[in-house]
Symmetry: C2
Subunit: 451 residues, 2 copies
């Protein structure tokens, strides 16, 4: 084949970059499991009708067709599409397996998702998401709405040792938004949310215009919504300020009260457990999603232009099988977007591209089995290594190790010797006892020389 060009929207990593991605994924998984989340993988496909029933994202679905499909049969089998998120598959998996899952079902899922974007849009068409959700059977207590953003904040904060910047989780509550909106007389809540959702991108003037033209707001109503959307704070006083604003505009009602109580509880618990990380931010609307309670977005401090790297919220009806309703709360990390930024900015780098800590030299092809035996003894004690591909001159074998980033070269002999090719230090060694320093044993992801 001629040298192929990368396919726009389908990112792939070189080996060293994959080391960084795996370090991120491994640490996320560990945090999720420390919090008792079960790992699940679902198939890549769902029936197309399930996918297209879920709002605007349906525009971006990839539909599958068997190359050898008999056109007569096409109509018989359900048409399949690639999942565009991990929430639709979760809902289906929960209903399909309800009798065999432990509820509340705490699951995490790390998989690729696909979006059939137009090729010229430059967006990811394949990317990795890492999701956590708690799903209840019939009911799901509010305290999970406090728990889940804190698990994500802990997971992302745990990545700081890899060079990931600190995060700021911005939270809001749909009940507050809806209660306030209806309280000031705006009944098309969906249009209100869609308008407010654009505040970061287009600014208050345009949002005010949208509120008037799309949501039927008069100037006073639009101003009230913008005033609400401007409120932010990391302790319970923000809730008092929302309450005062609502009172000033005559907005009252159970929905608003419940929303304010929940938002206050979330902010207070977060301030106690992870001070300074979680902020109430009344402009967070998550316009297109079917959330019913808390909503969340997460920014990387210093990389706010990247947008939210971790978003989610509460669904009162994640799924239903007709008789039982499954409420859920969850968040999703856009791992590819995060890793892409870490690599592109140099915030995180790999210590080397290959797993091998040691290259075992081969003195001549006739004694390759001696080198293989050395490698076997090192591996038996957990030291990753490879044997030189050819019995070239030793200088050439050392350069081979250097090009691969392997820190140590082993020379079989009497006695064996091992050389740290970075320092040049060479010492007698026994493959049954010698180990590299712990930080050299495996490739690691570490902060780069930036910032």
């Amino acid at each position: 084949m001629a040298r192929p060009a990368p396919l726009s929207g389908f990112p792939e990593w070189l080996p060293a970059d994959r080391v960084v991605e795996r370090a991120v994924l491994d640490r996320l998984a560990r945090t999720f499991e420390l919090h008792g989340f079960v790992n699940v993988e679902t198939r890549a496909v769902e029936p197309l009708e399930q996918l297209v029933s879920k709002g605007e994202t349906s525009k971006e679905v990839y539909v599958l067709r068997r190359l050898q499909e008999d056109p007569d049969q096409e109509g018989q089998a359900a048409r399949l599409g690639l999942h565009f998120d991990l929430t639709v598959p979760l809902a289906r998996y929960v209903v399909e397996n309800a009798g065999r899952l432990p509820f509340p079902f705490r699951r995490y899922q790390i998989q690729k998702v696909w979006r059939g974007e137009r090729p010229q849009d430059g967006r990811f068409r394949e990317f990795t998401q890492a999701d956590i959700d708690v799903v209840g059977q019939g009911a799901l207590p509010f305290h999970h709405e406090v728990e889940l953003p804190l698990v994500m904040a802990e997971a992302l904060t745990d990545l700081r040792s890899l060079g990931v910047p600190p995060v700021r989780v911005r939270v809001n509550n749909r009940r507050v938004m809806e209660g306030f909106s209806r309280g000031v007389g705006l009944e098309d809540v969906e249009a209100v949310l869609r308008a407010v959702d654009k505040l970061d991108k287009v600014g208050p003037d345009v949002v005010g215009e949208l509120l008037r033209t799309q949501a039927g707001a008069n100037p006073a109503q639009a101003a009230a919504m913008l005033e609400l959307a401007g409120l932010t704070g990391s302790d319970e006083t923000v809730v008092d300020r929302v309450g005062e604003l609502a009172a000033r505009h005559g907005a009252t009602g159970d929905l608003l009260s419940q929303g304010l109580e929940e938002l206050g509880a979330l902010v207070a618990a977060a301030a106690a457990r992870m001070p300074g990380v979680v902020h109430a931010d009344l402009k967070i609307a998550r316009g297109l999603d079917y959330y019913t309670g808390s909503v969340y977005e997460t920014l990387l401090v210093g990389h706010e232009s990247l947008g939210s790297v971790c978003s989610g919220g509460r669904y009162d009806t994640l799924a239903t099988d007709g008789s039982t309703t499954y409420p859920g709360v969850g968040l999703s990390i856009g791992v590819s977007r995060l890793v892409s930024r870490l690599l592109g900015s140099g915030a995180t780098v790999a210590t080397r591209q290959v797993p091998s800590a040691v290259l075992v030299a081969v003195l001549d092809e006739g004694s390759r089995s001696v080198s293989d035996a050395v490698a076997g003894r090192l591996r038996a004690r957990g030291v990753p290594c490879e044997v030189a591909p050819s019995a070239a001159k030793l200088g050439k074998q050392i350069r081979h190790a250097d090009r691969r980033g392997i820190p140590f070269v082993w020379f079989p002999g009497e006695p064996d010797q091992v050389k740290d090719i970075r320092s040049g230090e060479q010492v007698d060694a026994d493959a049954s006892t010698w180990s590299p320093p712990q930080e050299d044993t495996w490739p690691r992801a570490v902060p780069g020389d930036v910032g």
Copy 2:
């Protein structure tokens, strides 16, 4: 939604079964990395023209179409299909990134692949493969053909502690097959290989008939091929027997000599390093694949009916960019098939379905933060735990832990206490120092109560 039915050919695991699958994958990855194989993931899609140029499997490709695709644009963008193996993507990745990869490129790759089988065929349409390959730039020494099946044998043997049966690797060499075939006057080597490949399934009578009708063999030629295909052995004497058989039929030539030398070297090295695991088996043909040297298949002892769980071989031309040729040798484990058999036969089971080793009880909702703090202290020392979802009666909380398979329940108090709900033993404990026994800390995959 109504309760959905599973989608034929798209296996999904319940949480406990996923524990088993992950244990298999984690251990495979560890062995591959101890041998210096670099992890890579490639995108799920390749240009359709790349996929369909690769032989019979092209019949089973899933083609992608954007739901909102403009029919006028359809012809402009390259059509994409889901990869049906990890070899075609590797070849493309190597050529695309040749200047940035360390050669010989030792890579492993664990990903889903898709085959557009007819739904009614009952075959997997989505499954996980675990591949290792070594790819050279221009040349690749023969010793890698010895190394790679031994890495796989080691990786699969390492799974025995999970309950995986012992494996038998069956090896052959295309040069022997082709040299012998031509030596006895059969020039349509491909037809010969295709016929011999069916020996295990249909027996010698049918294969003899196929050799006569499809490969143009006379009865003596067919008998000679069947005699060859009947030879097997785990030491170099099998090579001598092939040599004698060839001499008896007047089959000679450099190709046959080189093949016999390679097969002998492979069997001898394998017998020295992993006695009894690798057997030369002259009927192994891998009929449909483009191998040029060693070929490999792997059976689970006692589960021979499952067919090969790990196959591969040597390609002299894995890829080429016109000026440089990339030879490779590799093997691929059909992980889904293996795991499906482990689960179905009860050979491997999970010790529990959830990660949590401890359920921290909640005495009343007002003191949930006390339980959260206990959980935080346990997690900080690497103990996975979850907090009870409601402040129910303690007996109910214990039953909740029991249903999830969580072995310990923690009761905040003065002092705190922890109960092993299997033995009923309850002791004073401090969340800053207590740990569960190591075998209880994380869910594990262990041999089941069979065989």
